[in-house]
Amino acid sequence: MPKITYIDVNGNERTCDVPSGISVMEGAIQNGIEGILAICGGSCACSTCHAYVDERWMDAVGKPDEIEDSTLELAVERRPNSRLTCQIEVSDALDGLVVRVANNDG
């Protein structure tokens, strides 16, 4: 099972087993990662699952599509490596992925 490392806003780092096929956001919710709120439930409507993809993983994760790119405009502090974790599907290719949770409470 792919391992995803989440670093929350307080700097706490946790590596979790997340099954392929679900989203990086769902993996965070299931593992109780602080700061991934996902109030719209993964419909790409709210930006509260915003995280920063570790630079080494940006190519593997890819860029946001048009809907996500627009939704990211609602994020508090958007950066070049910003993604909505509900839109990243976990797969073997992402085994080892590291994401840093953004400030989604702001």
Binding site: I22, E26, I29, Q30, G32, I39, C40, G41, S43, A45, E66, I67, D69, S70, T71, E73, L74, D105
Partner: protein
């Protein structure tokens, strides 16, 4: 004796958010969440979308794993229907005979489906889509059905029709009014969606309510108000919801088509707040009272309600937003565009990517975006900030609305 808990009635999105917000805001006392259904709090929007299509399993709808309730010391009681609130005794009674004392109370009782009222409406196999159990029942029956009648041309009916057509079923959709989603969008959007559904093969009957449903040997016969009749395998009704305000009203709380709350989500009892679909509330952004059925309202109002329970009392001032997925078309709504006295089209309906921006007294009040998410997000920001834009600006695709919103 241990202190009485804060009690939240209703295990939907608002109820869960109140619990979540109470803990985030530092409330560390006992907390009880009373939920009428047998599932832990789950997302409703996919019930008429991906879940119904069979693309998601029920567990993926749950907002939180069971470990979250333990970790946050939220005592979740499932299948617990509250039947009465005794404000003098600060106690709620449940259908199973149990009672729960409360120190403070939050009502997130939601809304329930409005049932059909025509002859035959009591036939046991008429489907609705409100709860997970409703959607599971409909989903289980779809493989054995070829012909559907959908009653109601609102969001739920149209989403169900889209899923059914995608699965290859024949669909007749009845709408008593002369256009789709009439309460929420303008005629331009209604007309676009009528053409979209007809293009996908839906037999769309506008201005045509149903008169009766009868059981036949092979299915159900739907008789419409214009004299037509169609035999189908399944009838799905999506004709709106009614707020669950009865226990509040019986307890003497003010109700007016919903539990009346102020801008701080407080009811007429200082120790009781309410949030979500069940409330008739004041939204400072809209500067008026309204009842809204949406994820946005459930979450944002729940946050305000939780803060008020703790005495913080920040007002509810939020831009409403909604969305609906039908086929591969995403409809996103920002603000409340109805009624309006002027509108401006951005993009073209022919391209399938356009927005209609609505103005009242020269001010932007909302926009409906069809496969045009950037406009939707720009509109939400423009509305939230109160940034002035003109109809001419939004109609010009060369004008970068997000740039204006960023200031």
């Amino acid at each position: 004796m241990a202190a009485a808990p804060y009690v939240v009635i209703g295990g939907g999105q608002a109820g869960l958010q109140i619990c979540d917000s109470l803990r985030r805001l530092g409330y560390d006392g006992p907390l009880v969440l009373l939920a009428a259904e047998s599932s832990p709090p789950y997302q409703r929007p996919p019930l008429s979308k991906k879940f119904l299509a069979g693309d998601l399993e029920a567990e993926r709808l749950y907002f939180r794993p069971s470990s979250w309730f333990e970790k946050n010391a939220v005592e979740l009681r499932l299948e617990c229907t509250v039947t009465a609130i005794d404000r003098a005794a600060r106690r709620v009674s449940c259908a199973d005979g149990s009672v729960v004392d409360y120190a403070r109370l939050a009502l997130a009782t939601g809304a329930r489906i409005r049932p059909l009222a025509c002859p035959g409406a009591d036939l046991a196999d008429i489907c609705y889509v409100r709860s997970l159990a409703d959607s599971e029942a409909l989903r289980a029956r779809l493989p054995g059905a070829a012909r559907l009648a959908v009653v109601g041309g609102g969001f739920i009916g149209l989403e169900v029709a889209a899923i059914a057509r995608t699965l290859g079923k024949s669909v007749v959709l009845y709408e008593g009014l002369d256009r789709l989603m009439a309460r929420a969008v303008s005629p331009t959007i209604s007309d676009y969606y009528a053409a979209l559904h007809r293009g996908h093969g839906v037999d769309l009957r506008l201005g045509c309510g149903i008169a009766a449903i009868e059981r036949t040997r092979h299915g159900l016969l739907v008789r419409d108000a214009n004299g037509g009749e169609v035999e189908v395998d399944i009838v799905v009704a999506g004709i709106g919801v009614v707020p669950n305000d009865e226990i509040a009203a019986a307890a003497g709380l003010e109700c007016r088509g919903g539990i009346v709350v102020d801008a701080q989500a407080r009811t007429s009892d200082a120790d009781i707040v309410a949030a979500g679909d069940c409330t008739w509330h004041y939204n400072g952004f809209l500067a008026r009272e309204i009842r809204l059925e949406s994820v946005q309202n459930a979450v944002d109002q729940a946050k305000v309600a939780a803060a008020s329970l703790l005495g913080a009392g920040e007002p509810y001032v939020q831009v409403p937003w909604f969305w609906s997925d039908q086929y591969d078309v995403k409809l996103q709504m920002a603000g409340i565009g109805m009624p309006h006295d002027n509108s401006a089209l951005r993009g073209t309906t022919a391209s399938g990517s356009f927005s209609l921006f609505y103005f009242r007294d020269g001010r932007l009040v909302g926009a409906d975006s069809v496969n045009r998410p950037a406009d939707h997000m720009a509109c939400r920001r423009l509305l939230a900030q109160g940034t002035m834009v003109t109809a001419a600006q939004v109609a010009d695709s060369e004008v970068d609305l997000m740039q204006i919103a960023r200031g």
